[in-house]
Symmetry: C2
Subunit: 129 residues, 2 copies
């Protein structure tokens, strides 16, 4: 964590004259406790997985389609090689964003609840602030 608190000291000292506020150590402790509670589950892995164009397209395609899709259907839509598609789907699977089902020579993927919820959140706040 950061240790240089001179600026924060001054800010708190200034705010003391305006309203309330406590001492620096206490303030930082409060903020750090908020910060530590973050990313209890692999949020960063999820966000990283979705932050690439290819993987984002695949994920939102799987979320938009109701029901699972075959790899060959997905490859037909994203314009990268089979290999890249497979890598991308593997990453999404590792992040818990898609499920994988094998059926003979075909393999089907589907979006998980987590994917849908995150994409919905983005959908619903489109155009705000």
């Amino acid at each position: 964590m950061g240790t240089n608190t001179t600026r924060l000291d001054r800010l708190l000292a200034e705010q003391l004259e305006e309203c309330c506020a406590g001492d620096t150590g206490e303030r930082i402790e409060t903020l750090e406790s908020l910060s530590d509670s973050a990313d209890a589950g692999g949020d960063l892995q999820v966000l990283s997985a979705l932050s690439d164009d290819t993987r984002y397209r695949l994920a939102s395609l799987l979320a938009a389609a109701d029901g699972e899709l075959c790899v060959c259907e997905l490859t037909a839509v994203v314009d990268v090689s089979d290999s890249a598609t497979s890598h991308a789907l593997g990453d999404l699977h590792d992040a818990g964003l898609v499920t994988r089902r094998k059926d003979g020579q075909w393999r089907y993927y589907d979006a998980t609840e987590r994917t849908e919820r995150v994409l919905d959140a983005l959908d619903e706040t489109r155009g705000e602030r």
Copy 2:
């Protein structure tokens, strides 16, 4: 978009014998229309902004704290240089994830609705599938 549809042709041909399904062109068109409707607003920019550890910490800190925080408070918690913090906050601002307010020599940031919704979605689906 991808144009090699031989595999998809075969999949659809096989499914024809099992259940319903239409022709390849129609199928791809359906999927592409789903794909195109994605990312109408800068979803990728938002996801990219949140997919970095420093920016994620800043964003979730701002979302967790009720009300705005000063840059010096944020710098005290994330353990990177002032400059890196500033760069990170700038990126978050560009992505529409935080608001910026200037007050004298201090500058205050706050999380937007969009940030809170996305992080909530991740929170609420923690540990699923």
